[in-house]
């Protein structure tokens, strides 16, 4: 008996159930926890869709980091959430919204069911050209060779988002440290984990990065792991967050994109176009870009979770 449809069906039912619960539950904190669970189950859906890279990214960023971000927010917002909940709209507004949202869903479902068969796909073209990149992982090839500009712009998005977050700092604390000062409980469980896990995490991250050239993995997933390890040590109180005025921090943020741009421009004399790779050197250059980007991504993601500066330099 083929179990696959049963597995898929149960997964979809679970995903939808958690999603409905996230929307409907009264308490914001519960909704956020629900979302973190939803993110992890969605990663399973990605596995079922044979998109392992996306599954890894969804689990790490969509479920993990977003979950951390939102849980910290939900805790700080606890005092005011119930007040704002009073502003629930009238019943007929809810009904209208439900009807309209339902219509969009139905229209989407109709379109999904009527998508062309055979589906148009770029897989043959990728297969044709992937040899010149020296990579085995088609997704990495798309991200760093065929559509490298999207990846470059996406690194820029991360930097812009961080700039925007930092701009929210109160004037008095500009240049200071983001996030609260966590107190170290030297013999507590958190401190124990924060001493144990990061070395393991770093090794796993390097592995994920290295293997991403030929198997699912790559700099985003690796960078997220590194960010998580750093956040762990910060939240356990083992290290303090760096002040945003530090030059080394700013350089770390920018290095990934700078290396990307530099190699991109080097491609003009060496390979004829911006972001083109010379014959035979594609894989090493891509790995260099990925390594630099991984570090920048790690720093940027962690800082995005920590938020704008809220303490002075010396705190």
């Amino acid at each position: 008996m083929n179990l696959a449809p049963l597995v898929d069906g149960s997964l979809v039912a679970l995903i939808l159930a958690v999603a409905i619960w996230t929307i409907a539950v009264r308490d914001s904190f519960a909704a956020v926890v629900g979302y973190a669970i939803y993110g992890l189950m969605l990663a399973l859906a990605w596995v079922r869709l044979a998109a392992i890279d996306a599954a890894l990214t969804e689990a790490a960023i969509g479920g993990g980091l977003t979950g951390v971000l939102l849980i910290r927010a939900a805790v700080r917002l606890r005092p005011t959430e119930s007040v704002v909940a009073e502003e629930t709209p009238a019943r007929f507004v809810k009904a209208l919204a439900a009807v309209l949202a339902g219509t969009v869903s139905v229209a989407l479902a109709v379109v999904v069911l009527s998508l062309p068969v055979p589906a148009p796909t770029l897989a043959p073209q990728v297969a044709e050209h992937i040899a010149s990149t020296g990579l085995g992982n088609a997704v990495t090839a798309v991200l760093l060779a065929f559509r490298a500009t999207d990846t470059l712009l996406e690194a820029v998005v991360l930097v812009f988002a961080l700039i925007a977050v930092w701009s929210l700092a109160p004037d008095g604390f500009w240049g200071g440290r983001p996030g609260p000062r966590y107190h170290l409980e030297a013999h507590g469980m958190l401190a124990y984990l924060a001493r144990l896990l990061p070395p393991l995490g770093i090794i796993v991250a390097i592995y994920v990065f290295w293997v991403g050239a030929d198997l699912p993995g790559g700099k985003f997933q690796a960078g997220t792991l590194l960010a998580a390890m750093w956040l762990l040590t910060i939240m356990a109180g083992l290290t303090n967050t760096p002040p945003v005025s530090r030059r080394w921090l700013r350089v770390a943020l920018v290095t990934g994109s700078a290396v990307f741009l530099a190699i991109g421009f080097a491609g003009v004399p060496l390979a004829g176009a911006f972001l083109a790779y010379p014959e035979g050197y594609a894989k090493p250059l891509i790995l260099v870009i990925e390594a630099a980007s991984m570090l920048s991504i790690a720093v940027t993601l962690a800082l995005l979770v920590l938020g704008p500066p809220e303490r002075g330099d010396q705190a």
Binding site: D150, V156, L168, S245, F274
Partner: protein, 591 residues
């Protein structure tokens, strides 16, 4: 301007590398500003923006000389596998306008966002210059990218750069305005992304030129068009999706408001144009375009009336932006071919772009002047601006010229745009747009007259000025306003035949101008909160029955605007719009 031919199968054209430079220059600037920090941010901006202006001019020249869309295949990979940068006349014009306005803003804000002597780095100035470069980088990506997903990333860049400009001063109201802007903009982004996903699912590519060949009028493209258009309209703040715009643009510092109104909002509009004119010209239908035009008309009327009801100058200018955005959508129903079946790059499109450039420059000048008044007086209450004209003549001249430019006085860009669109309306027999085009000027004149009347009133004692404003800032505001007023002259020859511009002093033109101004004055007299003629008391309760009923109409508009700007209303309207556009597109097939 007619659509320039592209080579297919594509190759990088001769001047293509310029596009890469244009894309990368501001981004490199952001990185440099971030790393070098402190007052270097301003230095980096002051160096790169003029360089960008030169680059934009070179791109324009290259385009005219080669008479072909400039193309650059990134990484050497051709679409659909790779991404192409493309610059046609529309891109070139927007690149140029952006750098010109940004240069003006940079000069205007030079003193205001100066890092104080004793600190290595100060938040607001450092952020302002960095964000200015960031907005520029995002806009360049929007104007040059030839792939719908790259454009999605560019739109997000634009949002992340524009939102912090709103909350730059850190006051609670601006934080709330910024949050509403961000959330609504994100709403728009997901709708856009959803449409793009559907298009890829059906046609296997997200490249604009390839999609143009492959797209057919069928269910999937109708749904995608409806979703993407509506998402972009949310980001452009077209009525009734303007909930975030007035508090955001009014709460930002003046230089930031200038950038937000003149440039940021035009990015998503540019994508609507790309989507309708280049990706789906045969899929979108006249009824759907009429809907866009109708919403534009509503924006002009509601925006202008609510602008008249404002007590603060910056809010008036913000509502003026909302009204002027309506003008940008009037060109859609007028740009169809003679059979009414397909959008073409014709006179109406040229008119639309003239309108955009004209508004960008005039609105930048207007916000700058309003900011100068606020800085000098310590407030911007319209009722208490008497004597400003005597105290700050250059600033008042800047506002006056900007107002005239927006009203469409010869030889402003708006005038020429209106002429071109009137011709298109005539040619296609859509007489109702003639009424809207002509009538719109009266509504604009309304709040221009209100502002001028309040600043031109004389004052018994001399004006108490809180601060001396920079002469350079005043001059920059004046130059931008003047350039909008003279835009038609610049567009002559290369773009438009000369006989379209009438002699401004001819009796017919003067008569029309007089009629418009009189109409505007009547509107202002009827609808504004305070009397135009200096009475300090609130004249709403007094005055004849005509005045009282006019005031009632004004209050009704304000109330309606307040209702429409509630989150539930606006977001529900957004979904209704998706359904309407989708429905209008689908219905054309069954005939």
């Amino acid at each position: 301007m007619s659509a320039l031919p592209t080579l297919l199968p594509e190759a990088t054209t001769a001047g293509g590398y310029l596009l890469v430079l244009m894309l990368v220059l501001p981004l490199a600037g952001v990185f440099a500003a971030l790393t070098l920090g402190g007052r270097n941010a301003r230095r980096v901006a002051m160096l790169t923006i003029p360089a960008g202006l030169a680059l934009a001019v070179v791109i324009g020249v290259e385009l005219v000389q080669s008479d072909r869309t400039l193309v650059y295949l990134l990484g050497g990979w051709a679409p659909p596998l790779g991404i192409a940068l493309r610059a046609d006349g529309l891109s070139a014009v927007m690149l140029l306008t952006t750098t010109v306005v940004l240069l003006g803003v940079a000069l205007f804000a030079r003193e205001e966002f100066n890092t104080p002597e004793n600190v290595p780095e100060s938040r607001a100035p450092f952020m302002f210059w960095t964000l200015l470069l960031a907005v520029w980088g995002a806009l360049n990506a929007v104007f040059l990218a030839g792939d719908l997903f790259t454009l999605y990333v560019a739109l997000e860049l634009l949002t992340f750069a524009g939102v912090p400009l709103v909350s730059l001063e850190g006051r609670p109201e601006t934080l709330q305005a910024a949050l509403r802007y961000l959330l609504f903009a994100l709403f728009g982004s997901v709708l856009y992304m959803l449409g793009a996903v559907l298009l890829y699912g059906a046609y296997g590519t997200l490249d604009i030129a390839l999609l143009a060949e492959r797209v057919r009028p069928e269910a999937v493209s109708f749904v995608a068009a409806a979703l993407m258009t509506t998402g972009l309209l949310a980001k452009t703040a077209l009525f009734p999706f303007h909930l975030w715009l007035p508090p955001a643009h009014a709460g930002a510092p003046a230089a930031a408001s200038a950038v937000l109104s003149a440039l940021v909002v035009k990015g998503s509009w540019f994508l609507v144009v790309r989507l309708w004119f280049d990706v789906m010209p045969g899929v979108v239908t006249l009824p759907a375009a009429q809907l866009l035009g109708a919403l534009g008309t509503a924006a002009i009327v509601v925006g202008s009336v609510v602008a008249l009801r404002q007590e603060r100058l910056k809010l008036l200018v913000a509502y003026s932006t909302m009204a002027q955005i309506g003008y940008l959508f009037l060109m859609f129903p007028l740009a169809f071919d003679s059979a009414g079946s397909e959008l073409v790059h014709g006179a109406a499109l040229t008119g639309g772009f003239l309108q955009v450039i004209s508004h960008a420059t005039a609105k930048a000048g207007m916000f700058m002047a309003a900011g100068l008044i606020y800085a000098a007086l310590g407030h911007d209450r319209i009722a208490d601006l008497a004597g400003v004209a005597r105290a700050m003549p250059v600033t008042v001249l800047a506002i006056a010229l900007a107002g005239l430019a927006l009203m469409g006085v010869v030889p402003s860009g708006a005038y020429l745009a209106k002429k071109l669109m009137l011709d298109a309306a005539d040619g296609s027999g859509q007489w109702w747009w003639i009424i809207v085009l002509q009538g719109g000027a009266v509504f604009t004149a309304g709040y221009v007259v209100l502002v001028l009347a309040s600043v031109l009133r004389s004052r018994s004692e001399p004006m108490p000025l809180v601060k001396r404003v920079s002469r350079l800032s005043e001059i920059v505001a004046l130059v931008l306003s003047t350039s909008s007023l003279l835009l038609a002259l610049a567009a002559l020859g290369p773009v438009v035949p000369g006989e379209l511009i009438a002699n401004p002093l001819a009796p017919k033109e003067l008569g029309m101008l007089l009629a418009v101004v009189l109409g505007g004055a009547l509107l202002a007299l009827g609808l504004s909160r305070r009397s135009l003629f200096g009475a300090r008391t609130d004249s709403e309760a007094n005055g004849g029955s005509l005045r009282r009923s006019a005031v009632a109409v004004g209050k009704a508009f304000e109330l309606a605007d307040r209702l429409i700007r509630r989150w539930q209303f606006a977001s529900i309207s957004l979904l209704v719009m998706v359904a309407l556009v989708g429905g209008l597109l689908v219905s054309s097939v069954s005939t």
